[in-house]
Symmetry: C3
Subunit: 139 residues, 3 copies
């Protein structure tokens, strides 16, 4: 029989950059009675994002920030939305590109991530924020 479990995580970021949350998700699986299914991870904000990327060399995530800044520059003169400052609209645009959820298959209580895959919370604002994440396990 299939079951659904829902968990809430809260992280406080230290400003723009990425934080690995793979272990937080893996820990929920270890104590779950659901053995096989999909872990859905969702962030309840529009100025940060979730993505799966390379977990071995931190320079990959450094270079992703370089590209995100190129794709969605801070303080772009074309922006109309700047209520919260130069990084406000850029953060929403970065959020569109990274997305606000990832979903990962699991079995036997283990995420089926590849060897080099990690799950990361990307803070898109320059200042740190308190970020709420909802993890739903279905299987």
């Amino acid at each position: 029989m299939t079951m659904t479990e829902q968990h809430h995580l809260t992280l406080t970021t230290r400003g723009r950059g990425s934080t690995e949350i793979t272990d937080d998700i893996a820990a929920l699986l270890r104590t779950s009675s659901i053995t096989t299914g999909v872990a859905h991870v969702f962030v309840r904000h529009t100025s940060c994002g979730l993505a799966i990327t390379e977990n071995a060399d931190a320079s990959v995530r450094y270079d992703l920030e370089t590209l995100l800044a190129r794709w969605a520059p801070d303080a772009d003169p074309a922006y109309r939305h700047d209520l919260e400052g130069d990084d406000d609209m850029a953060a929403h645009a970065r959020s569109l590109l990274t997305g606000c959820s990832v979903s990962i298959p699991f079995t036997a209580g283990r995420l089926l991530l590849g060897t080099w895959q990690g799950i990361y919370l990307f803070e898109h604002r320059t200042q740190g924020h308190r970020r709420e994440i909802v993890v739903t396990l279905t299987g």
Copy 2:
């Protein structure tokens, strides 16, 4: 016990731009017998997309259109695909960036969206189109 429910929505867009569909998804949840799970929303087209973004200031979605036009310009001389006009290939490229599905956790018949998150159908063609959406509730 877990259940699955599937619903079909049809929207007619008025050309390039975004239309909020949060209430359409929320309404399906209110009448569902599934209390906790994930709502999967899928658009059956390759020239529009679905995304979750800021719902308070319409200028955010105006600025996202400005960036989408920069990332995937209409009538780019590099395009080979232009059967349906200058916006044809640009629409497929915008669709790659926004994606064609979003999934949102819910509980007690309510979407667990953040305060500032809305679910939007992005029409990527310049003309309006009839768009079919499939909503699958699992929980």
Copy 3:
């Protein structure tokens, strides 16, 4: 009652470009006892991706490669990460943009894709690689 089924596929790519896998996923559904739900497709790598795009005119996927090369150029002087060559960081950046999973609703053992939608594995490295895909059917 809801059920979950998990399947593993392995594809060997021939280098940068896209390979349609729609029929591979459809075949799993035809032999499944799950009639209605969502098919979750996940690639266990950070230098390739999965995306749903136009399936009729191959020039669409040719043009998407043109844009991916513009968004995430090979050998960009700004990159710090180049352990595996000029296409290494570009492949991780393309993977962020395409994502590493897609999910498609199905019913009566058939994917609810639109007429022009195909599911594609995008190889982001210049050389071919062996790619592992996990398909989880829940419904």
